[in-house]
């Protein structure tokens, strides 16, 4: 077998069952041998950031193309080996680099050639002087992938959202813990709602892209607004025919049911293109990782989790930035001691003046 990358073309596989099986296998294969990565940002008051990456893998394989975050030879790198309780060898690569400001991090993100190179990521830092305190705001943002998707909060309640954004490890612990039945049922409920969310997103994206592609050629019934009104109807058609969707889409049955005989024939190519765009956006090629952040001063606000070391933590999964930007934000404050002293003297001065006035 050649060493080069092989090109596997799906459409030569006529048998859908084999195609399905191979797809599942590919997913399994694609999930193997990627390092577990934790990125730690230590934010300094002047806006500089010390960034540490810890990558763990079952084998000594840390190819740049497999890595979740940008990293190169300019980093200070340390390799080590750890033996787990079960006697397995874990290869650990730790890298550290000082960034003078977030713009340097953003340049790295733009030049990224790693596993998540197609994802638009950037960091932001701001500092606000508030006399008694200075406020620091650091965030890492991943731009949304779908243009016409729905925010997940429209499908999940607060408790379910909390579960959705929880790290996998925490969910697994709960699912296998004392209240396992309750959490498994809860997880199933969330999964079902997420399936609806995925479905609605792909349909909404298809409608949006289809309307753009058909543009002026389409009549008034085919505008994005009018198609959008019938979105639920289309979702139902897709769900009803999920098992036979492939063949029904290919022979135009589903499209005919949705936009009528004449339009389905006229706009078949646009419909296929829109479908491809929609699924490409839904199926993000992304390798998950974790981000930890250490802020200067006292932490006052965050949308992340807090680990046992007191550091902020965000799991990064592709679902989180599917339909809206994923903001990993932390806010902290440091007291301005000199401002406290100046204010104290000023107060003393004014109070003394008032006392003198009263005495005289």
């Amino acid at each position: 077998m050649k060493k080069e990358i092989l090109n596997l073309i799906f459409n030569i596989m006529k048998n859908r069952k084999i195609k399905h099986l191979i797809s599942v296998m590919l997913i399994i294969a694609a999930s193997c041998n990627e390092p577990e990565t934790v990125v730690t940002n230590t934010v300094h008051p002047d806006g500089s950031v010390t960034r540490r990456i810890e990558m763990k893998n079952n084998e000594n394989n840390f190819a740049l193309s497999d890595l979740q975050v940008p990293f190169d030879s300019t980093w200070l790198i340390r390799d080590s080996i750890e033996i787990t309780g079960k006697g397995d060898t874990i290869w650990v690569k730790r890298a550290e680099k000082f960034f003078a400001d977030v713009e340097e991090i953003n340049r790295d993100y733009k030049a990224d050639s790693g596993a998540n190179k197609d994802i638009a990521r950037h960091a932001e830092f701001s500092r606000k002087f508030r006399w008694f305190n200075t406020e620091y705001n650091f965030s890492e943002i991943i731009e949304k992938n779908m243009s016409f998707g729905y925010p997940v909060r429209e499908f999940l309640n607060q408790e379910e959202l909390k579960w959705f954004y929880s790290p996998y490890k925490l969910k697994e612990e709960k699912k296998n813990g004392s209240d396992s039945l309750k959490f498994r049922a809860f997880n199933d409920t969330v999964d079902k709602k997420l399936e609806k969310w995925y479905m609605k997103n792909v349909v909404s994206e298809w409608i949006g892209e289809f309307a753009i592609l058909t543009g002026a050629k389409a009549d008034s019934e085919m505008t994005q607004g009018s198609l959008k009104k019938r979105e639920n109807e289309f979702v139902e058609i897709v769900q009803k025919n999920l098992d036979h969707f492939d063949s029904l889409w290919q022979n135009g049955t589903i499209l005919r049911e949705f936009i009528g005989e004449a339009n389905s024939l006229k706009f078949k190519n646009e419909a296929d293109s829109a479908a491809n765009i929609a699924t490409e956006r839904l199926w993000i090629d992304f390798k998950p990782y974790m981000i930890r952040t250490i802020m200067p001063g006292k932490l006052t606000d965050t949308n992340g989790l807090i680990d046992s070391a007191g550091f902020l933590l965000w799991p990064v999964n592709s679902d989180f930035f599917l339909t809206e930007p994923y903001l990993m934000q932390a806010v902290s404050k440091t007291p301005n001691i000199w401002a406290w002293i100046v204010s104290g003297f000023f107060m003393l001065f004014v109070i003394t003046g008032i006392v003198i006035k009263r005495k005289s």
Binding site: M1, I5, L6, N7, L8, F10, I22, V24, M25, L26, I27, I28, A29, A30, S31, C32, N33, E34, E36, V38, K56, N133, P167, Y168, K169, L170, L194, E195, M199, V202, L242, D246, L248, W249, E257, D272, A275, T279, W283, F286, P288, M290, K298, L299, T300, L305, I306, D307, S308, F311, L313, P315, N317, S318, S343, M347, G353, I354, I356, K357
Partner: protein
């Protein structure tokens, strides 16, 4: 001797009676008074300093402005510190993950990809993907493994007539509930 004494007394008397003629006596008086005033008395400097430092207390609008500024500072201080306390209290209620939360994150991604495949497989008729030789080998190994498990499953079903009947019924039910278009 007595004559000398008499002369002396007479001269003194003459001198006493012949006073110097002052040109501007008022000016001399003023100068003397000024010099007396200029003479420093103990504690006078501090008093003067305080008087100049706190002269503003006798100017109404300055006094009111400074009192306003102090009130504002105190209000800002109380507000900021109370706000920080509240935010810190809210943060303490946040979920704390044991350990550093590191996880085989791919597992969750795998679950998601399976779900995604299920709902979007139909759109993928012309999709092309690239895989490396290593992953292709893993794919084939996984495929063989799955084949083995499938054979085991079929064998178990074949050996158990009740299970076989149950599965057939379930499959028929599924076919009946989801008719083709």
């Amino acid at each position: 001797m007595a004559t000398d004494n008499n002369n002396y007394k007479r001269i003194i008397e003459i001198l006493r009676n012949s006073r110097p003629e002052l040109i501007r006596p008022e000016e001399i008086e003023d100068e003397v008074i000024k010099r007396i005033i200029r003479q420093k008395r103990p504690g006078e400097t501090v008093t003067a300093l305080i008087a100049s430092l706190f002269g503003w207390v006798y100017v109404s609008w300055v006094r009111r402005s400074l009192i306003g500024a102090v009130t504002l500072l105190v209000a800002i201080f109380i507000y900021q510190q109370a706000s920080i306390l509240k935010q810190v209290n809210n943060l303490s209620k946040k979920t704390v993950i044991m350990g550093n939360g590191q996880l085989p994150a791919s597992s969750s991604e795998f679950d998601k990809k399976l779900t995604l495949y299920k709902i979007s497989a139909g759109f993928y008729s012309d999709r092309e993907i690239q895989i490396s030789e290593k992953r292709l080998e893993e794919l084939l190994i996984s495929y063989q493994d799955l084949q083995g498990k499938y054979k085991d499953l079929v064998r178990i079903i074949e050996e158990n007539p009740e299970l076989k009947k149950y599965i057939e019924n379930k499959l028929n039910e599924k076919r009946n509930t989801k008719p083709d278009l």
